[in-house]
Every structure is written in structure tokens, then in C-alpha cells.
Symmetry: C3
Subunit: 507 residues, 3 copies
């Protein structure tokens, strides 16, 4: 079969034509790639893109439209959205552009390319925290130090551990697999193929589908994080397993908590009866319990089709408080670029070490009320106002108490630093590289976050109680205390022993 | 649309009639709530309740009946089971009763309300451990202390940690989310609605669907734990994800263990071909591997429909040994109210600290044999007697050995208490608040339980071996030993140092 | 109904005949077992075995054949594959053979029995690591010591812990549940049945479906590990939950990592639209993302049916490097029997303590290239060559760095041994039974393995970063260092105190 493909490709004959509305460039792509990468072609053939003419899609009623552009350039209007329509756009802006069997092609499709048909989504996404996820980690020296401490290889000499800079590969494999990498074009490289030696771009930090990926055209984000290539399925994006790739225990256990909640329980046992492709998405008719997308992203409608909540690809648009402690919870930041935040101590953090919020950079009560109202509108389609109010009152209390437990851990850490039992901020040393410091990280990053996420998605009680939640908060505090106690006792004994030795010498 | 609902509601016009057999009260509920809480109405419309006339349901053959009443009051006979039929019962007994647009309504539907149609299930459930789950935790001073120690906020001062009482909200969020809360009616509160200001009951410890919830009518239990509102689906109750909300790692990892077992494996890959709604439920025809409900609750039939095992909503009716160590395994308690148990040392525990069972309160060998026979009857539909016998012989050995490992940990803890390395029962101090005590808790609550649950559902070998099982039992013991050794060494050094200082002073 | 079965069985009447092509022996089995073990009969009735005549199956085109024999003995040709066809073979070789109501029956069906129809699969499987899984654990004194240390019951006396030999039951329940047990026939035992007292074999270490089970006919392996009785479904074997029974966190978290990866995400949300029974299995048509079987076992075809990759039941045939560290990664062993391996220090391990591979026993670069090419052929059906190359370059780096992190932990352990802080290899003591040694085990067995598995199945970033991955590698190293530091400080104080006491005595 390979031989046939080669002949077909070399002759640039039409091959198996997909349909009358496929552009001739895309048809050329399909001719070869149907043989070389059949999985990609099959995914695309199963997608809406392969069946949709933009000029017809635009004519649909607004509530059911998947295309948000009011018009598209002429060349896209009457052909389905094929290989070349996406990979052949804005070629002058793409450093990853190259000539591939006569076609000018970009390796990476960026949000700016998707923007041709989906400008509303791109406009909502681009300023959001997700799109800024690389800079929010790298431009913040505190977070950057944490990254380097944890994923950098270490060198042991005797009982001394020296931390080295993490490699680009490990960054790509760990933190930046979710946050996104900065894709760099190093040049061109040769590759031998059945069609002869070809030249392809040599990309660094690729492949990557992190939410804040910095693309070779300078744009930020990867729509494929949630709408994976090449089916771009709304069903996949709406199912919680997609979110679960990044939002996992122990640091951001939203997906684990969801699965253990009543909502997750109903999703899991009832989902086969739901319609994950319907737009608009009707409560009680198309689905009977929320998924991540229902609460945070999707356009929702009543059973009669009337729109109840608007879609937004700014994932914070229905969030008023940031449950993710850094190190304490705080109102959502005003700007998706959180690297600009400075707390009262001048550190790039949304709160001080004792919990004072950097309010100037965070949304105020009015905006909080607007966003909370968006979320509770979703809740109230299935729950009474009393129920919803009581739920969030409980969550507010859990926020307060878990932040309190972080403060207590911080007091113990400060005691260790102050009494020479560890070296951190007061000593100008790395605050993340010693055992007691790493226990402290667990207090807010694993245990506090878990209890709060589980409270927010009520029903995941084991995550509040025993799995990373209160059991962790309480026993971790006691572990920190005991470590301090033992180290302090040893230190005093050493000092006393040194005194006596000195006295002995002096005598 | 909201405006239309308001007009419709105010005029109390019939609106979209659901069907001729809906009571006129329920029709009034639907008129408004179809607009205000469409998710609830849709769930109910998808339910059997919305399609079932009790007097017709009672006529069905016994094996296939879902209603266990032999007769129901006249007013329920000829209408489907709608909003008012459930929320409008026994209004004089409900402290949460209120007048809502002219109707006398209870917020919470209790087992006593479900009892009208489902008396057998309520009679089985009410005396069981599940229905007593609140008192079993709160009335037992030992367990109560454990709860308070783990989920109460703490205060750090220097290196001293002071434990405070947990808040009602955190209790509701953690332990009592599963066990159930005591719902209290604080009074009435005002709520602004599109239909004007209304009065609704102000409930404390609500919402909650814990299995032992104490309801405003004084009854115990929440049928909605497993049959969630408002679909009350038998399919949901029969699927293990429902049980998995509470029976999760690390303390009662039945669901995690099930998923990793061969039975769970077959369920997960084959369930789409099963019929989860069939009553009776036929082995091999309707399902091909057990779920939690198959082994513990459901009425099971042969492929030809002959009943093999009777349904019971007393979840211990097929259980002879309690794998859940407190701190050791023991025969199932005679009474669902376990707070009455006293061991030989006078403590409210089913065994002593060294493992002697409080036999007076526990079922004897004859009743154990009866219950074991019920369970093995299920097993033997797919496994030979030799297979089943060997399986439970293996489990018995795992019970014996894990209890032995708990005893070893208890000996180490006792050593620490006896040698002044921790303060617990001998000192009249909290036995749960120090690091070594918390390691001891893990021995029986996390590691022993996990190994036993995994042994009981054979095939979940990683839970026996590495995930919370034997790896935990063994390495935790060594951690306890090392902690004792280091603390003892420091103590001796301190004593020796104090001696020398005294000697020095004395000289 | 039971009574009817008894009568039917005693009379040996035909009962409910299954079909004209059932052998008369199998029909006799069905007559009784349809009543006694209806689940088994139903599973078989749903299976292909109950519908397949070997002589017809053999005639199918090669790519779609499930039977690999070119011919079968006459007595199997014209009857479906029923009870007696499998349990009645090679009776002279089976120590578990017995006479059961007049029929000569084996309890256990072994690979040699399956070999009649599936010789290619048995020939591939038998020499593989999986089939040798019992000996690979038991014949290796290092691994054997680890097993004994972790799952043997322990005895505490004061602060001394004594390790005892694990029981056969616990071995069967833990490690050997996956690896397989050695089934022994102890003799015959009596069993009372409704048909009178019968004699059945008394088997030790049974039931068991471990991959390397040693059967009563001397053969190795249990096909039922992945093709569970009595449906023997290809759908079950192809779904990852089956592999997940053994390949679970924390030691070999392949299944957990898969679920968190993009491939696992797509499987989970899209699998209902796939055809898990199609042979050959067409990429993009029958499935749209890989499962474990796709990458490691199955025959794969292009959408047009052309075979791309051959099936192999040697699960290492597409693997060139062994990610599972013992204690470091290494090329796959040449021989499935790894107990023959000796490293440069004479230990039965594939690498030395400092990482030097025992190359003589491991595949070389040429064979590695062949196997890697098989795997990348799978990848390239959906990914470009550049993508695939970059993916494996990243994995290679993660292998290198995690092995480096294991080496650092090994250096710390060696320091502890050398400075009298723990007793291990230099002292001729158990290297697995002390707290610091058990931390060292976690470094390579839990953390290193997890980071590598997650890197290999890109997209499971939380397992690389926080869940058992780098967070574990880094913080565990720091815990080891701190433990050494504290123990060393205490040791010095004790020595100094002893010196002074001596001096005091001397004075």
C-alpha cells in the first residue's frame, strides 16, 4: 500500500476524493496522509470540521452556532475546514512555516489561526489566566524557585544535596506539560521519507498542548488542550476526563473530587443517556448533572431552549474566589497575567505570608457578586436558593478554616527559621528545599487545596476528611511540630555538649 | 420566560399539564418549578415515580415489584408519585413544614414518608448501622474524640498546638457528610423571589444526604444517599460509583478495591451490555459480574427468573465479620446502634486494646453462619464451592495477620506511652493527637482495612501489597519504631545532660 | 428448581439442549451447571467459544482469524468449544484431574490446553517475562528477601521488630496474585452436594489467575488473567481496565498514568463509539486512540484493512528499554527468565548498585532498534515522525535523570550503612527492613518508575510532577538526608556523652 501512496503523491493525482467541497490543497494533503498518518485523517473525517461549510454554519440561529465569526474570508466560505485551511493560514507570522511538497504549511496551529472562525472564544481565552500560564510560572521568581527546586536533578555529596537547574525536557515533561512550553524554531532538519529526503522545521519544546503554550507566531494558548486534534470534539471538551488531565490530585484535585461527588456519581452512571453534542445544552434534557464544562464554560439552556447562562472561554468568569491557595485563598486576580501582582511585602504573591490580600490586583466585591451570580444561576436550575446559599456558606467556612490551618503551618515554619532549625526567607535561602519546608508546601498546596475543592463540589467527603484533606492538615501540623521539637532538642544538646567541652578545656 | 412563569404561578393556572394522573397539587408545583428549577422537574419526569400509579404497581408479580406496600392510602392510589405526594405527607410530624403558596410542604422527605410505598425497605434499613450512623459517631466518646482531633481547627503558639472544637460547617463538610447531620429548624427566614417575598424554613446542617441523617420528623436516614433526587433511579443505586462516594480510600477503600478487582474490571468493560433496571435481577442475563449491590443488597434471580437471594436494605444481612477494624476486626454487632457496646475494659469499643471481642454485643457463630451462607450463595452462582471456600479461607488468614499487625503497632504505642515518649490513655490524655499516635491510627484505619477489603474482593492485589496494604503495615511499624528509638535516645541524652549539669552544680 | 436439576442430573437426561453442535459431554456439563453455576454457563453462552466450530473458524482469512492452529484434532472440529473441550484435555498430564460424575475432568485449564487452537499465542507467551513471573520473583534471592520483608508478619518486643516468613495465603493474596502461584494438588477431599457426597481435588494456592501461574500440568501462565472465564472476551482483553488490575500505582502505575494521559482521556470519552471486537483492528475506524493492547499486543490495520503491525503475546516485543527500575532502567532482558541474570558484582540484578548494566543478559542495540521500530510504527499512524522522535527524546532524558535520582538516594543509603546509621549489604544484613532503606525503595520503585511511565505516556503530567513523580524524588531525598543528619547527630552526642561518662569515671 505504501508504494501506491508514494506513486499517488508523486504524481499529485487526486486519490480518494473526500467530497466536492474539499479545497484542492486539502485534497493533496489527504492523498498522502491518508496513507502515512491514517489516524489523523480518520479523526478529521469524523469531525464536524470535515462536514461544515463556514458560510452555511454562519447562517444558523445564534444559540446553536458553533462558529462565532460573522463572516470569514472568501477562500474559507465554500470549502470544509480541512488540513490546509488551518495549517495554511497566516504563514508570514509563523516561524514554523515551511514548504512541504509545494505547499506553505505551519506545523503548529495557533489560537490566531482558530480566530478566523472562532473569534469570540479566542477573545475570551487570550487574556485569561490559562493563556498566561507560562509567564505566570516563569516570570514569578517565587514560583520559578519552587519549580527549579522540585524538578531539577540533584547531586549528593556526603550528606549535602546540591540542586541543579531543571532540563528543558523535564520542564516540558512536568510543570510545562500543563502550563505550556515556549516553542522555538531552531532551524530546519532533514528527514528521510518514502518520498525522498525532505526538510522539516526543527522545533524545541515540541510536542506540547499546554494551555498557555507560546506558539511560533507569538500567540498564547493551545485550543487542542481541551479540543484534541483532529476531531476537535465538543463531546471530549465537555467531559470531565479532559479537564482531569491537569486538574488532578494532589495539588489541584478538582477531577478526583468531582468523581467522588454526587454530581460525578450521576455523570458516571447516567452519561450514556446524555447528549454531549447538543448546542445549546439543555439542563435536564441533554444532561442531568453538571460536568466541569457545565459549571465553568458552557452555554446552558432550559429544556425549552431558552438560554440561561452564556458560554465563556474565560474559565474564571463564573469564579469569584480563587480556592487555589498561594499560599492563601484570595479573590480572583483582575488580570490573567498574575506575574504583575505584588503583595504588601513586595513579593509577587496575591497575599502576604500572614494572609493579607494584595487587593489592588484582585477583583472587588462588586465583580465578585457578578461572577458568583453567574455560578449560582447554574446551581439554581436544580437546587433551591436555600440549598445553594447554605452550600456556599459552608464553603466559605472551609475556606476560612483551611487558610487558618495554613497560617498555623506558616507559624511553625517561621519558628524553625527563627530558631536556626532551617534556612529560608530570613536567611535569604531557598524556602522550598528542606524537609520542614516541603511539609509546609503540602499544607497549602495539597491539603488546603483538596479540602476546599472538595467542599466546593459537595459530596466528596473523603477528600475533605481523610484523603489529603483535614487528616493531612492536622497530622502534617503535628509532624512539623515534632520535627521542630526533635531538632531543637538535638541543637540544645549539641550546644550544651559544646559548652561542657569548652568548660572541660577551660578547666 | 421567567415573566410567563410568574404570571402562570400567580394565576395558579394549570400550565403545561403533565398527564391526567398527576394530582392537582403536584400540577401546581410543576407549573412554577418547571420554570424555576427545571432540572428537578426533568429528573422527576425521567423517573419511574412520574409514570407509576401505586394501585397498578401493587398488582405486579411479587418478584418484579418495586413497591413493597400491600396497600396505600386512597389519595395516593390513582395519581403518580409527584412532588406533593412526597413533600406533602405527615406534615404534622415535620418541624420543617411550612406553607408555600397555599400548600403545606416539608422541605425534607424522610424515610417515614417513603414508608408509605416502601415499608419493607424502611423496616430493614431503620435498625441498621447505616441509619444509626450519626449516633454511632457522636455518642461514642472515643470516636467523638477522634473526630474532634482531626477536623477541629488548631492554634499554634511557639511549638504548642492547641486543638479547638470543630465547627458545625466542617462537621457537615467532612465526617457527617457521609454519616449524616442532625437537621435543625432554626425558624423561618425571608427570601425575595420573582413572585414576591416568601417565608421559608431556616435549616441548620442542611443540605445533607448522609446515610444516618436525623430528619426534622425525628426519623433516621436519607434514602437519597443512594437513590438521588429526583430520579430515584435503581440504576444509580446499583452502580458502584454510588457506594464509592463514601466507601473510598484511604479509610474504607471498598470502591477503589472493587475497581481494581476482576469483578470491577468486568463491570467497567462490560456494563454497557447490562440491564441495570431489571427486577428481579438475573445473573448472567442482566449482568455478568457483581457490583456492590449484587453482593450486599439486591434480589438476585437465576436466568429463568427463579429467586436465588432476597433483597435486603440492611446492608449487614450478608456480612458476618466486620472487616473495618475498631481497632481489630470482630463479628458484626447485634444492634445497629453500636454506641451501646462496651468492651472488657469498659470502653465503648467492640474489642479491647489487645483484641478481645465484646462478644455480648456481637453476633454469635450461628448468626454468622446464616449470613455467610447468604453471601456465598451469591458467589456460588459463578464459582465452585472449592473456589469460594478457598477464597474465604484466604480472607480469614488476612484478617488474622492484619489484626496481628495492628497489635504490634499497639504494643509500640503502649511502649511510647509507658516510657514518657507520648501522652495517651495511661496519662488520661488524648490518644489521637501526637505524631506517633497518628501513625498508629493509620495502621488499623488505613493499612489494615485496605488489606482486608482487598482480600475480600480478591483480585485487587496492589491494594494488598503496595497501595495502603502490607507495604503500609510493614513500613509504618518501622517508622513508629524509629521514632521511638530517636525520641528515647534524645530523652536519655537530656537526662544524662541534666544529671551532669546537676553534678557540675553540686561539685 | 434445585430439585429439578438434581433429578435431571441423576438421570443424565439431555435437559435444555444448547444446540446441535455441542458435544454430548459438554451437554452433560451444561445440564447440571446451568442450575448450579448459572453465571458460568451464561458467560460461556455469550462467548464466541459457544458459537464457533473450529473447522469453520480455520477457514477464515488469516488477518481476521482468532484461531491460530492450522488444524485441530478431529474430535474438536465439528463441536463448539464447550466445557469438556477445555476441561477434558490432556487428562494424563494434569495432577488436578479427577472423575466427576463419570467424566475425566481437570479443574484448571492451562496454556497447554488452549494451545490446541491457539498455538501461536502460547508459543509467544510461554518464553516471555510474564510466563516466568513466579520464578523471576522466587528464584531471585534479592527480590525474595524484599517480598518476605514486606508481607511477612512481624513481632514486636520492646522496640525490636522481628520479621517472620510470609504465609502461603498472604503470598497468594499479595505479590503472587499478579505473579501467579504454584498450584499444588494435596489430594482429594469430600464435598456434600444436592447430588450426594462427591470427591474433588484439594488444591493449594488456588484460586489464582496470576500471569505466571504454575499449573498442575507443569505449564506456566494463565490466559484467564486477561481473557477472564468464561467469556474469554477479546473486548475485555483490549480494554485497559484489564491491564490495570496489576499495573497500578504506586509501583507500576501504567494504568493510572494512562487514564491521566490524552490517550486515556480520549479512550474514556470516546470508547462507546469504538468496536473492540473487530479483528483486524483498524486505526481511526474501529478506535481513535490507543489502549494498552494497541501499543503492546494487538494486530493493527489501516482503515482499508491492510495489516500495519503484527499481533504478539510476548508483551516485550515492542519494548526496547525496561522502564521498571531494578534499581535502574536497562535494556529488556534477552530471556523471559530473569533469574539467570548476574551483574558485575555477582548479584542477580540487571544493573549494579551504581547503574552498570549486566549487558550480557540484556538485548543489544540492534534488537532494541527492531523493537523500537515496532512501537513507533504504531505511533506514526497518528503522529508525525518529528513528533514521535521528540517524544522519545524527552523520555530518554527522563530515564537518565530519574536513574540519576536513584543513584543519589543510593549514595545516601550507602553513607548510612558506612557510618553505622543502618545495617545493610556491607553488614550482611537485610537491605530492605529499616526506615531509611524503605525510603530508598520508594525512590526507585515508586517515584522513579512513576515519572518514567508518565513520561512514556505523555500527557500524564501530574504523575511526572506531583503524584509520586519528581515531587517524590526530590522530597524523599531530603527526608533521607534529614534522617541521616539527625541520627548522626544523636550518635555523636551519645559517643561524646559516653566519653565524658568514661572520663568522669576515670577521674
Amino acid at each position: 500500500m505504501r508504494k501506491l501512496i508514494v506513486v499517488l503523491c508523486l504524481l499529485m493525482l487526486p486519490g480518494v476524493a473526500f467530497g466536492a467541497t474539499v479545497s484542492k490543497e486539502t485534497q493533496s494533503c489527504l492523498n498522502c496522509h491518508r496513507g502515512f498518518t491514517p489516524g489523523i485523517v480518520a479523526d478529521w473525517e469524523n469531525s464536524l470540521h470535515s462536514k461544515t461549510l463556514p458560510d452555511e454554519a454562519i447562517e444558523k440561529p445564534k444559540a446553536g452556532r458553533r462558529i462565532s465569526a460573522e463572516t470569514v474570508p472568501d477562500r474559507f466560505k465554500h470549502v470544509v475546514v480541512g488540513c490546509y485551511e488551518c495549517h495554511g493560514q497566516h504563514t508570514d507570522k509563523h516561524k514554523d512555516n515551511f514548504t512541504h511538497f509545494g505547499f506553505s504549511i505551519n506545523v503548529v496551529v495557533s489560537p490566531n489561526d482558530c480566530n478566523t472562525c472562532h473569534p469570540t472564544e479566542v477573545a475570551q481565552y487570550t487574556p485569561s489566566k490559562k493563556a498566561q500560564a507560562v509567564g505566570n510560572l516563569l516570570k514569578n521568581p517565587v514560583y520559578h524557585t519552587l519549580v527549579d527546586t522540585i524538578i531539577g536533578p540533584q547531586e549528593v555529596d556526603g550528606t549535602t544535596i546540591t540542586h541543579q537547574q531543571p532540563s528543558d525536557y523535564t520542564k516540558q515533561d512536568a510543570c510545562f506539560a500543563c502550563h505550556g512550553t515556549t516553542i522555538e524554531v531552531l532551524g530546519m532538519k532533514e528527514r528521510k521519507t518514502p518520498l525522498g529526503t525532505i526538510q522539516v522545521p526543527d522545533l524545541k519544546n515540541w510536542p506540547n498542548q499546554g494551555v498557555g503554550r507560546i506558539n511560533p507566531d507569538g500567540t498564547k494558548g493551545a485550543c487542542t488542550s481541551c479540543h484534541p486534534r483532529h476531531s476537535f470534539s465538543i463531546e471530549i471538551a465537555r467531559k470531565p476526563e479532559t479537564c482531569g488531565q491537569c486538574h488532578l490530585e494532589p495539588d489541584v484535585p478538582a477531577y478526583n473530587v468531582y468523581k467522588a461527588s454526587k454530581h460525578g456519581n450521576i455523570y458516571e452512571v447516567d452519561k450514556d443517556h446524555w447528549d454531549f453534542k447538543a448546542v445549546p445544552w439543555r439542563i435536564g434534557t441533554d444532561f442531568t448533572a453538571p460536568t466541569c464544562a457545565v459549571c465553568h464554560v458552557s452555554e446552558l439552556a432550559a429544556p425549552d431552549g431558552g438560554i440561561l447562562v452564556e458560554r465563556s472561554h474565560d474559565f474564571a468568569s463564573r469564579l469569584w474566589v480563587r480556592l487555589f491557595g498561594l499560599i492563601y485563598t484570595h479573590p480572583q486576580p483582575k488580570n490573567g497575567d498574575t506575574s504583575i501582582i505584588k503583595n504588601a511585602d513586595g513579593l509577587p504573591l496575591p497575599t502576604t505570608f500572614t494572609g493579607k490580600p494584595a487587593s489592588e490586583y484582585l477583583i472587588g466585591p462588586d465583580e465578585q457578586a457578578v461572577r458568583k451570580n453567574r455560578m449560582t444561576t447554574v446551581c439554581k436550575q436544580c437546587h433551591s436558593t436555600s440549598w445553594v446559599d447554605a452550600h456556599f456558606a459552608k464553603m466559605d467556612n472551609t475556606i476560612k478554616e483551611t487558610d487558618h490551618m495554613t497560617l498555623q503551618a506558616t507559624k511553625l515554619l517561621q519558628y524553625a527559621w527563627d530558631h536556626g532549625l532551617a534556612k529560608g526567607i530570613p536567611q535569604g535561602a531557598n524556602p522550598f528545599d528542606e524537609a520542614i519546608e516541603q511539609k509546609w508546601i503540602k499544607q497549602w498546596l495539597f491539603y488546603g487545596n483538596t479540602a476546599r475543592y472538595a467542599s466546593a463540589m459537595t459530596g466528596a467527603q473523603d477528600y475533605v476528611a481523610f484523603k489529603y484533606g483535614w487528616w493531612g492538615l492536622t497530622t502534617n501540623l503535628e509532624k512539623m511540630r515534632e520535627e521542630i521539637e526533635m531538632k531543637e532538642a538535638i541543637k540544645k544538646l549539641e550546644e550544651s555538649s559544646a559548652d561542657k567541652t569548652e568548660q572541660g578545656s577551660a578547666e
